[in-house]
């Protein structure tokens, strides 16, 4: 998956497990950037009596680098507190919840927002903002959409924030991909699948009808750009920002019979910039380490980008389909295209009218050229599909990042930096076979963009 349960240790700590990160120029407010960090993967909507919630003991953050050093110049930190109205009931709610202060809602969560600059100066922007409840069911929460709208908070400092449950928007055919790298649309060509399948199959969105918890923030472009300018040209390197999310826990925990004690400095336990980086690029023996590090440390993982395991596997899994990629692999040349896409950004002059380069420091960040306006007709394949407003120029909620990554690794982007390489025909055609249409809950056309979470009464059905 994008980053759901992507490393051994964080897969055991879902409350701190970052699953997806989005960063895009807001289509309905193009003078702002929206950043969404999702946590707590694969929530079954029917999960009472203890419904999913953020961790009071987790420090969640969205970091922005605007000078290319792989370290944050702007960070937004989010902390949560949980309050219980009645300790003497086992119920999450004792009647319908029709407002964020409903007396029927027993276990509520609130959050604070703190902005931290590159020198560590902290500014608390808001305290005790209410989260919406989990979507229990239509009897408990008759109008969930309105309740969630009420939980969108506009801060005096100009930011708009939301923290709470949302429908999972990331679509992936997880079952097939991790069954020996099968892609159902091409299963009959798979090295093992050709003995089983006579024709192409239809992809399955394995994450459909599950929920996540989203931390979303929309800020004026000038808040995140270097120098705070409100206007840049697309070729200006200062228009590019690198974004990542991280979750941290205090270093020591002492378990008590009733209460726990958390003490010591916060240490990072989860990180996410580009989708699939830790999942597919970093080998399992180093995934937990990667989660503890800042992007500025990512040079140590560059060799896994230069020689990605998946690029080696594709010609083996699909014999005869990727002959040019197979020949390139044998040369042992570094994949400069993938290094640019994932670690430095794409320099000016490679793709006409586009760049999202942050300089020489190799760091896994979701790079967004904030001077590129939103696309009028977005293409789910993003830059690979000719739409420079999409991944890997930031990431929008409907971008098919799995297929984009597949095409890039298969060699579709290699001719951009190696004119002698001719991509295999399959590199431009390979995909997982899914789109936003395979997400049951529709995306919103406004903040926080991810759909209304699936309710527990109707899902699963």
């Amino acid at each position: 998956m994008s980053s759901h349960r992507e490393a051994p240790e964080i897969s055991k700590d879902p409350v701190a497990d970052s699953t997806d990160l989005y960063a895009f120029v807001s289509p309905d407010k193009p003078n702002t950037v929206t950043m969404i960090a999702n946590y707590i993967p694969l929530q079954s909507p029917a999960s009472g009596p203890n419904f999913f919630e953020f961790g009071d003991d987790v420090l969640y953050a969205i970091h922005i680098d605007n000078n290319g050093d792989g370290k944050p110049e702007v960070s937004y930190e989010f902390r949560f507190t949980t309050e219980l109205r009645n300790e003497n009931t086992f119920l999450y709610n004792t009647g319908p919840i029709d407002s964020l202060d409903s007396p029927n809602w027993n276990r509520r969560q609130f959050f604070s927002v703190t902005r931290v600059d590159g020198k560590g100066k902290r500014q608390v922007l808001a305290k005790k903002l209410p989260c919406p409840p989990a979507n229990v069911g239509k009897l408990s929460i008759p109008d969930y959409a309105k309740l969630a709208d009420d939980a969108v908070h506009k801060l005096k400092t100009g930011e708009v924030v939301f923290a709470g449950q949302r429908a999972e928007g990331f679509f992936v055919d997880l079952g097939s991909i991790f069954d020996l790298g099968t892609l159902r649309p091409f299963q009959q060509l798979h090295v093992a699948g050709k003995a089983v399948f006579k024709e192409a199959g239809k992809a399955v969105n394995a994450t459909d009808q599950t929920n996540v918890h989203s931390i979303a923030i929309q800020v004026p472009l000038s808040y995140v750009r270097k120098g705070g300018k409100s206007s840049y040209r697309g070729r200006d390197q200062e228009s590019v920002v690198g974004v990542w999310t991280a979750a941290s826990r205090q270093q020591v925990l002492i378990r008590g019979r009733r209460d726990d004690l958390d003490v010591g400095p916060f240490v990072q336990v989860s990180r996410l910039g580009n989708p699939l980086f830790n999942e597919v690029i970093v080998p399992v023996g180093q995934k937990d380490l990667w989660n503890t590090l800042e992007p500025s440390e990512d040079k140590r993982f560059a060799n896994f980008v230069e020689q990605p395991e998946l690029a080696q596997l594709l010609p083996v899994l699909y014999p005869g389909v990727f002959p040019n990629l197979e020949a390139f692999n044998k040369t042992k040349k570094a994949r400069a295209d993938l290094v640019a896409i994932l670690l430095t950004g794409i320099p000016d002059g490679i793709i006409e009218g586009f760049q999202n380069n942050t300089g020489a420091v190799q760091a896994d960040m979701l790079r967004l050229n904030t001077a590129i306006p939103p696309a009028k007709e977005p293409n789910k394949f993003g830059v690979v599909g000719g739409d420079v407003a999409g991944f890997p120029n930031g990431r929008r909620v409907a971008d098919d990042v799995v297929s984009i990554a597949l095409r890039a690794v298969a060699g579709a982007t290699l001719p951009l930096v190696d004119k002698a390489f001719k991509a295999d025909d399959a590199a431009a055609a390979v995909e997982q076979g899914l789109s936003a249409a395979d997400v049951t809950a529709p995306f919103l056309d406004r903040f926080p963009y991810l759909g209304v979470p699936y309710d527990g009464f109707s899902n699963p059905s």
Binding site: Q250, Q251, V252, G256, D259, D260, V263, Q268
Partner: protein
């Protein structure tokens, strides 16, 4: 309430912590003490009255200790203190 004491208070939830041992080189063992005088080695204000803190003896022979208080980790080198804690740990 200070930032330290606010962070060090016992929390409402009970949940597993994954320590980032790779980042800070912290081992698994930790010694918890209360009422121990750290006056000769502490830096800054130290722990407030009634505040919980945790001492981790990283290397008893070298006298290397970490004290976790609030949101800080204070490194201390005190062979005598480490030896006494090691003795106490043996019951």
């Amino acid at each position: 309430m200070s930032e330290h004491s606010r962070r060090a208070k016992v929390r409402f939830t009970r949940r597993r912590v994954i320590t980032a041992a790779a980042t800070l080189g912290v081992g698994a063992a930790a010694a918890s003490v209360t009422g121990l005088s750290l006056a000769h080695d502490r830096r800054g204000k130290g722990a407030g009255v009634g505040e919980n803190f945790v001492v981790h003896v990283r290397d008893a022979k070298a006298g290397a200790l970490d004290i976790f208080v609030g949101t800080n980790r204070i490194q201390v080198r005190d062979k005598d203190l480490a030896a006494r804690l090691a003795l106490a740990a043996n019951g």
